[in-house]
């Protein structure tokens, strides 16, 4: 019988859930001769099931265990070795197509093909899974041919705006300049988004190989991966991968024995959201404060240190090897005509299966949420999904059948964005959501453009007033006026899109705004200053629990008597509501 292989997912999500304890335990046992091969891998996307351990090499084929506990894992391995289905939380079996494992079943993996499969710290493992074959193939082509393939594939930039990648490459290729740069934008900053991090942690070579191909096609000899410093594992894996690629001759002088020369650096960003904007990113690499500059000239013409520069994000680069390996035609078979290929999304919020997914373009939002994502986390109904992070917008339930492609999503007022998807149910206040995202963008504004710096702040203040019940009807028009000028009068995408959450919620949920302003009521019961807590006399047994937790002592009543909340003193903290075991307090 062949040796059993045990793979532990030790990406950031796994580590956070305790995967290192499992890994270290197995490591010790393996050393004492437990008789299995131990491998580390990264995230497969089912973050909600971490720590995940995959077992293979046994009769049952590949199976994955979720929410693994250190105390059980050795038993589970033993059961597996004996051909028995482990008495554990089995989340995937080998035949995951069409089985209960719909989470993976509905997915098409191009970008994430190796994530959670290979050991990201091993170039050999990457090569064993077909790594660097695309590069070898490319080196036999002319640069023009490579650009043509990318153009033919119809690949659009996955950073959010969806600009055709092949076209962008051709601009940089045609630009005059002895020195050119390619940059990988790994400054993932949207709240709730972690696609790029997972990709870099799980399959760094795929991105590097894509960049080398791009550099070859555009005639660049130097590249940067601009990665945020808060992603230590991604940086670590990248550094290792660059060193290994250099050692193997994929990077550096005379790559694969040709005259082609390319070096790659990592620039760790300090975590400013705006540095994800390409001109600000370039400023940041140059050592300046990350602030966007006027375009044109576009980076393709004059970018890093004034040289022609191409910037793509992690996911875009990660598509390249697949396209080269399989050809443009195969790529176009996936997705829609205008938006071919797949898109990686980070599912978060009130969804059962939060984690990373990769789906073909053209899938409906409904399918993503209910099939891939496993539906809502609780029984509360779906209300909206925020797409595109703080620059995006909220798509309401009535538009659930919208298909996921650049143009359909834009039509809703949201944007595809880099792939953040926050699912909300009826317990979410849409004014509060808009306020949350606007708070993020206004804090992250670089402070350059007047409208963005002060305008977003004023919008936030208006929203805050509304959530406190101090809004006035003219505030809605003020929000719209501000939003219009901020959108039109900002140099970069941050400002141009910052009002989107407000505009989409105003578009689909204006009634909620009106309820806050006119009725001084929060329909989702979220905005604390608008909430009223009252004792329901029929339910109250006079246990005093509420009175004891009230921080301002505004609940009166003797033991076994019905209590009363003094509304003038109540600070709407909700402590009594949580403390009451008899549902005797109403919130509204």
């Amino acid at each position: 019988m062949s040796k059993i292989t045990v793979k532990v997912g030790v990406a950031s999500c796994g580590v956070a859930a305790g995967a290192m304890e499992v890994f270290e335990l197995l490591e010790q046992n393996r050393k004492t001769g437990a008789g299995f091969r131990l491998m580390r891998t990264a995230c497969i996307g089912m973050c909600f099931e971490e720590p995940i351990v995959e077992l293979s090499g046994g009769k049952l084929g590949n199976i994955s265990l979720g929410k693994v506990l250190p105390e059980d894992i050795l038993n589970n391995i033993e059961e597996y070795r004996q051909g028995k289905m482990p008495t554990a939380n089995v989340i995937l079996t080998e035949k995951h197509e069409g089985s209960r494992d719909s989470l993976l079943g509905e997915q098409t993996r191009i970008v994430l093909k190796n994530c959670g499969v290979i050991d990201p710290t091993s170039i050999d493992d990457y090569e064993a899974h077909g790594g660097y074959t695309a590069l070898k193939k490319v080196m036999k082509m002319s640069p023009e041919k490579v650009i043509e393939i990318i153009k033919d594939s119809g690949l659009r930039g996955r950073g959010g705006a969806g600009f055709p990648t092949g076209l962008k490459w051709s601009f940089a290729a045609q630009a005059k300049g002895a020195k050119k740069y390619v940059i990988c934008n790994a400054d993932e900053g949207d709240p709730g988004a972690f696609m790029d991090r997972s990709t870099l942690e799980g399959d760094p070579h795929n991105v590097i190989e894509g960049m080398i191909i791009g550099a070859y096609a555009m005639g660049a000899d130097e590249g940067y991966v601009y990665c945020r410093a808060e992603y230590p594992m991604a940086v670590k894996h990248l550094k290792l991968a660059i060193a290994d690629a250099q050692r193997k001759g994929y990077l550096g002088r005379s790559i694969l024995g040709t005259n082609f020369y390319f070096t790659l650096h990592i620039k760790e960003g300090a975590g400013a959201f705006v540095c994800g904007e390409e001109t600000a990113l370039i400023q940041s690499i140059e050592g300046k404060r990350g602030m966007p500059v006027i375009r044109p000239p576009f980076p393709a013409e004059s970018g890093l240190w004034g040289c022609p520069t191409n910037i793509n994000n992690v996911e875009t680069w990660a598509n390249i090897t697949w396209i080269i390996n399989h050809g443009a035609e195969e790529f176009k078979k996936i997705g829609t005509q205008e938006s071919p290929g797949t898109k990686v999304f980070a599912l978060a919020g009130k969804i059962a299966g939060s984690g990373l997914i990769e789906v073909p373009m053209g899938i409906s939002l409904r399918d993503i949420i209910y099939k891939v994502g496993g539906g809502m986390k609780s029984e509360k109904p779906f209300k909206a999904v925020q797409m595109g992070g703080p620059s995006g917008g909220c798509i309401p339930a009535s538009l659930l059948d919208t298909t996921v492609d650049y143009d359909s999503i834009n039509a809703t007022g949201a944007i595809m964005g880099s792939g953040g998807m926050v699912v909300m149910d009826s317990s979410t206040c849409m004014v509060d959501v808009a306020r949350f995202f606007l708070n993020f963008t206004q804090n992250e504004s670089c402070g350059k453009c007047t409208f963005c710096r002060i305008g977003t702040r004023r919008m936030l203040e208006i929203l805050t007033r509304i959530t406190k019940g101090q809004g006035a009807m003219e505030d809605i028009q003020k929000l719209r006026d501000l939003a219009a000028n901020i959108t039109k009068g900002s140099l970069c995408g941050l400002g141009q899109t910052a009002p989107n959450p407000v505009l989409t919620t105003l578009r689909y949920f204006e009634d909620e705004y009106l309820a806050h302003i006119q009725d001084k009521r929060c329909p989702a019961k979220v905005c604390a200053p608008l909430l009223k807590y009252e004792i329901i006399p029929d339910h109250c047994i006079g246990c005093t629990a509420c009175a004891r937790v009230c921080p301002v002592s505004c609940i009166s009543g003797k033991v076994k008597e019905i209590h009363l909340i003094n509304q003038d003193q109540c600070i709407h903290c909700g402590a009594c509501y949580s403390a009451c075991k008899f549902n005797a307090i109403s919130k509204g």
Binding site: I294, K448, I454, L482, K488, G489
Partner: protein, 1093 residues
């Protein structure tokens, strides 16, 4: 290339931005962040325009034209967006355009400016500022309740500035001055104005109109003018001789006063309206409101106004011993204090308490001190008398109820009464205007009656005082009811403006929207933390005559400030109003776009004002994040001491690490203050309290090095107060000046003003006359002389020196240090722009340190794509701009169109020799110096001093280099180590109208903005000594000769450079020895020394 601008197809040039094109076409597009020296930033967005096919707006400063581009520069949407951008900027602009004291004044007197002028000792100028809006400072400085002081921010630190007293001080000073301030009288325009009433309002209206050229006839019913100031305010507050002198001054514009002429008696309004071009009614509110009390017809019952008036006229009634005054206003206090001075026992009866009294607190306190008793919460209800003569008053006790409309608690009767004995009672409750005459037919115009309110006051438009009837205007108490003199004056001034416009243009003036940013609406809304940095300095109290004297006479109680007191008190002013409120770009756009300050009210970023730098005040509260200072400092000056810190709404410009500018590598070039479109960065002056008032500008050249930058010298009250780059017409140096050019003149405080003689190794000041005597005595003994010059002086001084040398029969000499091996080859042909070679070359090689502004000019050229190589350049901000840095000239790559640039005073001759050898021609070498007048020095015919000792030596600009028994130095300064037997003060470049020829023939013109007499004194010395003829002791003579020198030099042909001389070149650096250098040095060090405010 063709583009479509606002629907019109026009030709444009490649590389132009939309803003460039609009400027060329005369289309105004506002911009705050753009600076044509800098790369467009596109941050303020007030320059937003639309381009067909582009999403949203684009910035016109940063968008280059492309063929066929369709541009719309203005429409309602663009206008609204620009307005919103301004409103957003203003919503976080925590600043006051105007000082709160000025805004609090009903007459908008520019308090901050005149207070600063007083602090600077410029009293005459202060009065001029006051009289711009307030022509009666002598009186108002004594009687004003000082609305300004209520809003004075100094109150937050400890106490408000004593503004009223300062005004009085300045006015008193001016009154005693031989050159009293009297405005210029405009030529008569033939228009006639009638003014009824000679109170403050009528006098003010007449004052302004008469100086504007109107024929003003003022009709006064009494036998003297002043109105309430004369008949209401007692002598001890406003001496009537002071009032007389003030009115006399007011009549200097030709206003004619006709006494004993009253409306309704001698005058009819219908006649006046017909015979005059306009009529201003300022008849006041003179009728006292009687006390509705039973028995008020008894003898001994008086009304306040009547009592004061008869007292003023010397017809004081006999009050008896015990006097009651009813009321709580200033009139009641005036009656009481007058009665006290008549020896009476005085009580004030007031319905409410002291807190509710409308009289000024200091007046109440003064009355209490003088012995006036107060019956608060009391009200007389019945007067009883014996033989029709007042004997007792029944007084009811009151209590305070709910606040009424005025916010004061309403007194309510309690029913409890008591009886007091009084000999007389004065009721000073209120006054109303006399309106009865206006109902008479002869006082109606065109059958119309003057509109009168139910309070018996005239109804007028508050901005213009126009009554709406024919050509009749009305103001002062007549339209307000009893109010203050300053309000009456404000009405009079407004009426004068309106009447002028009404008569000359046929229209009333239209209100112009002027934007005013305010930190707070009221003093209470200002956060006190911002004022914690100020050191407490208590208000100086004006001294008063002793109490016993005060209550026994009618002498003025306040005796005035001494000069020291006044200047110290004025120095306490916190300068709340913006220094640049007149030139602020943001404010002018906000006015233009009629911005609402509170449309986007919300949180405001507050920052402590940074007063730590001695030359630059940094107020981040006013900053609009345009980043011009950051960019100019980093990209042009290279110092890079400013940057943005924080993100989002909190993002703000600050020095590196958020420290004080003094802790950075700031060069104190002051360029940031020049480019700041608001008042976030402003210059300060070590010796002068600056103010926002526009200054008198004089354009001339700087004389502190050979570059000779164009400067704008700003004057106030005959004194230089600021130097900056010319605003309208910047010279070749653009917006660039170095520390020396911009702030160096502040070291002139150390200037010599009298001759100094050395006695027993010490210098002693002597008179010019004695100095002449000393020289004369010396000259009698002297057989050999040496007359020397330096390159630090003007052409005129050189020519005078030459004449003296001629007279004495010697050659003109100079220290050997001023001569260099390269002198023959330099191009000294005088020209207006000497830096043409910068344009003709595309590679610059700079060797050694260089003049600061020249560096900026090179940097600007380099930004056009030229190459800069620095050789042996010090480790200094400019060094970072080098495309190539070398330590040795011999490492310089060959070829290229190179221009070699060096400063003769900063590298050795040996190094310079290497440069010449490499350059091979004077076409490719640009030599600069630290001398004022190097060009003329080399052309005037001067020879090195001899080694032989002489008996007498005189040198212009330094100590004579000759060995001499007696050395005379002519110099503006005396730095350490200066060794001469006699020193005569000399002029510097701001003290003589003269010429200089700087490096490469640059012509510099100097003015004498502060009208120094030093050169005249010197010439007097020279002709007394018979060195020059009396006929030539006149500067214009030498100016002409200087022009002749320049004309001669224009034919000069430099000797072409062929080979280095066959001599050893000096291995040491010869720095400039101008006496000012040491002073500049010690001033420059201050930029690193934080100051306390």
């Amino acid at each position: 290339m063709q583009v479509v601008l606002n629907g019109k197809t026009i030709e444009a040039l490649e590389g132009m931005t939309i803003l460039d094109l609009a400027n060329r076409e005369g289309i105004a597009i506002p911009t705050l962040c753009h600076d044509k020296e800098l790369v467009p930033n596109g941050s303020c967005w007030v320059c937003a325009v639309k381009v067909a096919g582009r999403r949203g707006f684009v910035t016109s400063c940063g968008t280059k034209l492309t063929p066929g581009m369709k541009i719309t520069t203005d429409d309602t949407e663009i206008h609204a967006a620009r307005k919103m951008a301004l409103e957003l900027l203003i919503s976080d602009h925590y600043a006051d355009c105007e000082a709160p004291c000025k805004l609090a004044c009903p007459d908008q007197v520019d308090v901050q400016t005149y207070v600063s002028l007083i602090a600077n000792g410029k009293y005459h100028e202060a009065v001029k500022v006051i009289k711009d809006t307030l022509p009666m400072p002598l009186s108002i400085g004594r009687v004003c309740p000082a609305f300004c002081e209520v809003e004075c921010r100094r109150k937050i630190v400890e106490e408000p500035i004593a503004i009223r007293q300062l005004k009085r001080f300045a006015a008193d000073e001016d009154l005693e001055d031989f050159w009293q301030y009297i405005p210029e009288i405009k030529p008569a325009n033939g228009k006639k104005i009638a003014i009824i009433g000679g109170g403050p309002s009528g006098l003010t209206c007449g004052y302004y109109l008469s100086f504007e050229g109107f024929e003003v006839h003022l009709f006064e019913a009494e036998e003297a003018c002043g109105g309430w100031l004369r008949y209401g305010i007692p002598e001890y507050r406003l001496p009537k001789d002071i009032l007389d002198r003030e009115i006399e001054l007011m009549c200097m514009g030709g206003m004619q006063i006709h006494y004993g002429m009253a409306l309704g008696d001698q005058l009819a309004l219908s006649d006046l309206s017909r015979d005059y071009d306009a009529v201003y009614l300022a008849v006041g509110a003179q009728n006292a409101v009687p006390m509705p009390v039973q028995g008020s017809d008894l003898c001994g019952c008086y009304l306040g106004v009547d009592f004061l008036k008869s007292h003023a006229k010397g017809q004081t009634p006999d009050l008896g011993k015990k006097v009651a005054v009813v009321g709580g206003g200033n009139t009641a206090i005036d009656c009481a204090r007058t009665a006290i001075r008549m020896g009476c026992d005085v009580s004030i009866i007031y319905r409410r308490t002291k807190d509710e009294m409308p009289a000024e607190l200091f007046e109440i306190d003064a009355a209490m001190q003088e012995g006036v008793k107060f019956h608060f919460l009391c009200n007389p209800v019945e007067y009883s008398g014996i033989d029709c003569k007042l004997n007792t008053v029944r007084i009811e006790k009151m209590t305070l109820g709910e606040p009424d409309k005025s916010g004061r608690r309403r007194p309510e009767p309690t029913g409890q009464c008591f009886i007091e004995e009084y000999d007389s009672i004065i009721a000073a409750i209120s006054q109303v205007p006399e309106v009865e005459p206006f109902s008479r037919a002869e006082n109606q115009v065109g059958g119309e009656m003057l509109p009168i309110s139910r309070w018996q006051t005239a109804i007028v438009d508050n901005a213009t005082m126009y009554s709406g009837m024919a050509n009749i205007f009305a103001g002062g108490d007549f339209q307000r009811g009893p109010a203050t003199a300053i309000e009456a004056i404000a009405d009079g001034r407004k009426a004068a403006e309106a009447i002028q416009s009404y008569i000359l243009t046929g229209e009333l003036p239209k209100a112009k929207f002027v934007f005013d940013s305010k930190r707070a609406q009221k003093l209470e809304d200002v956060s006190p933390e911002e004022y914690e940095m100020f050191i407490k300095a208590p208000r100086i109290k004006m001294s008063e005559i002793p109490l016993e004297k005060a209550i026994s006479t009618f002498k003025e109680v306040e005796t005035g400030f001494s000069e020291i007191q006044a200047r110290r008190e004025a120095a306490r002013c916190l300068e709340c109003g913006c220094q640049v409120n007149d030139t602020c770009t943001l404010r002018s756009y906000c006015s233009q776009y009629e911005v609402e300050m509170d449309r986007f009210m919300g949180s405001i970023s507050r920052h402590p004002i940074d007063y730590s730098h001695p030359f630059i005040v940094r107020n981040a509260n006013k900053c609009i994040n345009c980043g011009r200072c950051i960019r100019t400092c980093a990209e042009i000056q290279g110092a890079n001491v400013l940057g943005f810190i924080y993100r989002g709404f909190s993002a703000i410009v600050a020095p590196e690490f958020g420290e004080s500018l003094t802790q950075t590598s700031c060069l104190a070039c002051g360029k940031c203050t020049d480019v700041c479109p608001v008042g976030a960065l402003v210059e300060r002056n070590l010796n002068y309290k600056l103010n926002p008032r526009p200054k008198e500008d004089i354009l001339q050249n700087c004389g502190l090095c050979g570059v000779g930058c164009k400067i704008q010298v700003e004057m106030q009250a005959g004194e230089v107060v600021r130097i900056t780059t010319p605003e309208q017409d910047p010279g070749f140096n653009g917006k660039n000046l170095c520390f020396k050019g911009r702030f160096g003149w502040q070291s002139f405080a150390g200037k010599l003003s009298l001759p100094l003689i050395k006695q027993d190794d010490k210098y002693q000041a002597i008179s010019w006359k004695d100095a002449i005597q000393v020289i004369q005595n010396r000259l009698e003994l002297a057989k050999s002389h040496s007359i020397e010059i330096t390159p630090h002086i003007t052409c005129e001084e050189m020519l005078i020196a030459q004449r003296i040398a001629n007279t004495l029969g010697v050659d003109l000499r100079a220290n050997r240090r001023y001569f260099a091996f390269s002198d023959y080859w330099l191009d000294l042909v005088p020209k207006e722009y000497a830096f043409g070679p910068l344009e003709d070359h595309n590679e610059f090689v700079v060797i050694g340190n260089l003049n600061c502004t020249l560096r900026s000019m090179i940097r600007l050229e380099q930004r056009q794509g030229k190459k800069l190589t620095l050789v042996a350049y010090p480790d200094e901000p400019f060094a970072k701009f080098a495309d190539l840095k070398l330590s040795k000239l011999r490492d310089l790559p060959e070829g290229g169109n190179k221009l070699f640039i060096y400063n003769q005073n900063r590298i050795t001759e040996a190094e310079a020799g290497e440069i010449w050898q490499l350059a091979g021609s004077n076409q490719h070498v640009l030599v600069t110096t630290d001398y004022t007048n190097h060009g003329a020095f080399l052309s005037v015919g001067v020879r090195p001093v001899r080694t032989r000792k002489v008996d007498f030596a005189l040198c212009f600009g330094q100590v004579p280099a000759s060995k001499a028994d007696f050395k005379v130095a002519i110099t503006p300064y005396m730095p350490d180590g200066f060794e001469a037997d006699l020193i005569l003060p000399g002029p510097n470049y701001l003290e003589i109208e003269g010429l200089a020829i700087g490096d490469n023939g640059e012509i510099s013109r100097f003015d004498n903005p502060a009208k120094s007499m030093i050169i005249n004194e010197l010439m007097r010395v020279f002709y007394t000594l018979n060195w020059i003829s009396p006929a030539t002791a006149d500067l214009p003579h030498w100016n002409n000769l200087a022009l002749g020198l320049i004309a001669r030099m224009s034919h000069y042909v430099p000797v072409p450079f062929e080979a280095l001389p066959d001599k050893v070149l000096r291995e040491t650096v010869v720095p400039s020895d101008a006496p000012i250098e040491q002073y500049l040095e010690s001033l420059y060090i201050l930029r690193k020394t934080p100051v306390q405010f």
